[in-house]
Symmetry: C2
Subunit: 455 residues, 2 copies
Amino acid sequence: MSLVFALLLVVAAPKPVDLVVTNATVVSMDAQRRVIPKGAVAVDAGRIVAVGAAPDLAAAYAGRETLDAAGGIVLPGLINAHTHAPMVLFRGVADDLKLMDWLQKYIFPAEAKNVTADFVRAGTGLAAVEMLRSGTTTFVDMYYFEDQVAEVAKAAGIRTVAGSTIIDFPAPDNKTRDDAIAYAERFIRRWKNDPLVVPAVAPHSTYIGSPETLRAADALSRREGVPLLIHLQESPDEQKTIRERYAKSSTEHLRDLGLLRKGVLGAHGVWLNASDRAILLQHEVGVAHCPQSNMKLASGAAPVREMLAEGLRLGLGTDGAASNNDLDMFEEMLTAALLSKHASQDPTAAPAPKVLEMATLGGARALGMEDRLGSLEPGKRADLIVVDVGAPRLHPMFDAVSHLVYAAKGADVRHSVIEGRVVMRDRRLLTLDEPAVLAESDRYREQVARSVGLK
Amino acid sequence: MSLVFALLLVVAAPKPVDLVVTNATVVSMDAQRRVIPKGAVAVDAGRIVAVGAAPDLAAAYAGRETLDAAGGIVLPGLINAHTHAPMVLFRGVADDLKLMDWLQKYIFPAEAKNVTADFVRAGTGLAAVEMLRSGTTTFVDMYYFEDQVAEVAKAAGIRTVAGSTIIDFPAPDNKTRDDAIAYAERFIRRWKNDPLVVPAVAPHSTYIGSPETLRAADALSRREGVPLLIHLQESPDEQKTIRERYAKSSTEHLRDLGLLRKGVLGAHGVWLNASDRAILLQHEVGVAHCPQSNMKLASGAAPVREMLAEGLRLGLGTDGAASNNDLDMFEEMLTAALLSKHASQDPTAAPAPKVLEMATLGGARALGMEDRLGSLEPGKRADLIVVDVGAPRLHPMFDAVSHLVYAAKGADVRHSVIEGRVVMRDRRLLTLDEPAVLAESDRYREQVARSVGLK
């Protein structure tokens, strides 16, 4: 009798928690890939505390705050595994050009003439608005003035792995490599214990980073215990240059320099062959697949079917908006599925569940952060989004995962929670003054246009 | 003095017209491809009467109704040059399968067990909602029970070129080919003079249409003076079958049967070689490029760069939602640009202005209807859309055409006008009861799921 009474007491006194998200189809991305039709998620102190059937969670937890998903889909927040956030201010400044024309006539001059700390602040604000609105809760960044990227991300409440660029020639933020290393070191120490900002070191690539630069970046990242981000085997040009210079692939070159390990993330990986992939797998290195950018610049198609089959740590990224031209990870998922099928001449390649994984748990694994991010499981950081299923293109719904990959768009995201904090509710951003951010980014329009000879 | 007075009178008395759309960047798609930064469009009796600078039009025309574009972009309504509208009810029922598994285990059984006149009515309603919301003002359809497609389109106020399918085996609407021909004839006579519905004959393809069937369809279409729609060289399987059967390509086969002429539209055209393309060009036959469907089914990449260079009548289509999985022409434009660049290993292939043309004037040319549709020019049907540029991904804006192709989505469409009638204002559909349409389509969910063994 007393035991039953105690159980009733437990039932009668649900535990108070910060937030309950309910009335949802929960796409958990847990080990069983559970999809819970009438599910809920309980969140406390920035962490997920429970995922399950809505009535069970209602009995066990009382949210101080509640998010009603209204029958929508709750899933882990999307991880944009490779971008250059401030480049949204160069969105559409030049399209449909040969890579070298695009870089040398537009992007490099535009960067040289425009990129300042304030530019980065304004651009990251615009990127944050765009990413939060379209379901990204973590973005992996590589750019200049990364302090400003981190400041804006923190204020916006969006998680970032922010890589301070280290490059062999004068950059907008640092004129020498030593300055860049010193900046990165200060940057890392400033942000290392932040709950939202993971500072990282970002040597640009093997083709504009000497072995000495790569080793110095590696030493810093190991000393501080932070991720290392690098462009990796993106284009046929890179393949040729590195082969000529070192008689090996970029992956082999990085291995021989001792850089490869968990926490290293290579962006693009278009030209990874079986041997390169085996090396990356062995060293637990992540890859960020960027299909829209690769198609737009005609860089090639990454071996996604093979990387999935081999179990590489494979995430998904938009790259910068200058070669995309937006930061919508839903569209990137769709393109990843379509490009892999096309390139492998196999419609079963990159099926929807695997593509959704690339955008969530795969991104977390690519960063070596799968203990904290990428799925809705107790103990993980509470980064989640709610997708509204009201749009006509989401009717009827046979399979939530199919819809997320093939029919949903960023505009369907209704609520967003990061580190347990509601950052967007009913499509209203709670952390940013959106009209001010848009107005500020528009103020850069004329200056940028002039800098590349546009009206 | 009197002449000046008369001029003042003209200035002082603007001509009353049905509608003026103003405060817009007008992307006209006229012969000069004019983009008018502060422009307006005047509409009367279903036709465009003037396009120009907003102050000039305000002086010359007084709209009985006004649409304020609020700084957005006005462009010709998009033409979806190939779809199967009612198949939205099969959206996501089966993905990531080999073509023959997909067709034989899912799509054909689902069609056999579900497709009735009522199913087509419900599905076309859902498709119409989706298309109007995402900027399509004309859709080219091939399906069964095409009377219902036409009825729903007319009620929704959306333009359609509706092709009644003629096929060699029993179909949901007609059990024999002769019944299908008789149905098509009645269908054409019923709709021939409708301002919104252009009836058409749709022999499915060369591989499931005997020469006799193709000739009968052709005779009907010539007798009634209506378009002929057909699938054309979509897949390697089709190539092989037709080569084995007739020792020629599908294009050569159709030419030899005497079918090819202006007003014939071939869907897909993935495997058209230089000789096929020369035949189509010579006969003024249109092609509907469907990149997302081609990629999803791994059918291949159409020779878009070549077709553009050669001047083929090239439109753009979504195909049915079972292989897409939505009907968003903005996304299709983006994919057309990306796939062409990737497939031709040339980032200058399919530049944004050419892709926008494919979705507007190109579709009109593909249908042989460029005298009436596809651009904002006096005398043409008043089919236009207004794209809201408020979304963060449309900031800043350097080039309206780049944004339309690379960054805008269907969800950005704010107003839609078809045949001079405002069918969507401020994202509210004025011709359809959207909640009722969605509820009705959802009622088919369980039946469709059961028919293919899903829960």
